[in-house]
């Protein structure tokens, strides 16, 4: 019931934001001219050149978003609304897997041997630290919230399988608050700049960790949300098994 209410709420908020967004679109312009897609070329040159003649370098300032990774600039800044939809689709997929397969696929997990169970915390710590690096450097290097979140989930999976610890129940709370935080960042952009999910935190120096706070915050939120989704999808299987066999 909780999940259905959450899906309904997110859908409602997204529909409202979509309405505001569509009503604020500029007038009709031809999207294609001379066989080129002008919109994609405009955004590419805006990110790569920053409106100037030369390609942006490390240390440049006063750009629209100071991301040195063009994919992140497009995915989170210009196309952030679509990314919110992607995260919601992932949540719906995990919820569907839990609903359909959670009851039927009950198999006992053989406890891991001493070699694995003694090394599992070290491996998990290594993986989780690396994943934090990956989702914090999403605007500087390839990576970002989605692979970082998947790596956090892999670390928790190793801890659950290798050390026999229970999957914590906190993941669903983290997941809910991740979605709320994403929408909150979008609403802050709407209140301060007039458009949902617009960059309201300014942009600093290109090529530094805190140069683009907006993208960093969004990717951290996405990382935690994806990790919580994948981990709770696995946690449902384990929790039901332990309830059955103990």
């Amino acid at each position: 019931m909780n999940k259905i209410a959450a899906i309904f709420l997110i859908g409602l908020i997204s529909a409202g934001a979509l309405g505001v967004y569509i009503s604020n679109l500029p007038g009709k312009k031809p999207f294609k001219r001379n066989g080129h897609n002008d919109i994609s070329r405009a955004y590419m040159t805006k990110t790569a050149n920053g409106g100037k003649r030369n390609v942006i370098k490390k240390g440049d300032r006063k750009l629209e978003n100071s991301s040195s990774n063009i994919v992140t600039a497009v995915v989170l800044d210009y196309r952030g609304f679509d990314t919110l939809g992607e995260v919601t689709v992932l949540f719906a997929a995990i919820a569907g897997i839990g609903l359909l397969l959670g009851g039927s696929r009950r198999r006992r997990i053989r406890p891991a041997g001493p070699v694995i169970s003694s090394m599992a915390p070290w491996i998990a710590a290594f993986i989780i630290i690396t994943s934090a690096y990956i989702f914090l450097h999403g605007h500087l290097s390839p990576g970002g919230g989605f692979p970082g979140g998947a790596m956090i989930a892999a670390g928790f999976l190793i801890m659950v399988l290798g050390m026999g610890s229970r999957a914590p129940k906190i993941f669903k709370t983290i997941e809910t608050f991740g979605g709320l935080a994403f929408i909150t960042v979008g609403v802050i952009g709407f209140l301060k700049k007039g458009s949902f999910l617009q960059n309201a935190f300014g942009s600093g120096e290109v090529g530094t960790l805190f140069g683009s706070i907006f993208l960093g915050i969004l990717y951290a939120i996405i990382g935690f949300k994806v990790a919580a989704e994948l981990s709770s999808g696995f946690g449902e299987f384990v929790a039901e098994e332990e309830g059955k066999h103990e």
């Binding site: 053989r110 041997g113 070699v115 694995i116 090394m119 491996i123 290594f126």
Partner: protein, 108 residues
């Protein structure tokens, strides 16, 4: 500097090739795991250090990658071998000392 890097990368590539050859030539799961893990671990270490000689500013990251590979490759091969033993795959030779030890433990 670059010559040392080239030598290290060549050693790494050679050991990776030997590991791949071992995967094809070895008779059963356990021997294949041995070939695929040991040789490719050394091959990866060679390639990573060689690349580190080419690009010295990548060296810390490459050292971290080597540490991670050295930590995880024996674990994964151990676990695969254990899983193969648990589901009852027999080694190719006459001796299965782990099975006889487990039988001894059950007899006591």
């Amino acid at each position: 500097m670059e010559i040392a890097g080239a030598i290290l990368v060549s050693i790494g590539v050679l050991f990776t090739l030997l590991g791949a050859l071992g995967l094809v030539r070895m008779p059963d799961v356990y021997n294949r795991l041995q070939a695929g893990t040991k040789a490719t671990t050394l091959g990866f270490i060679g390639i990573a250090l060689g690349v580190g000689f080419y690009e010295p500013q990548w060296f810390p990251k490459l050292i971290l990658m080597v540490v991670f590979i050295v930590m995880t490759a024996p674990l994964s091969s151990h676990n695969l071998a254990r899983a193969a033993h648990v589901i009852g795959i027999k080694p190719v030779g006459e001796v299965d000392s782990l099975a006889s030890k487990e039988a001894d433990n059950e007899r006591r």
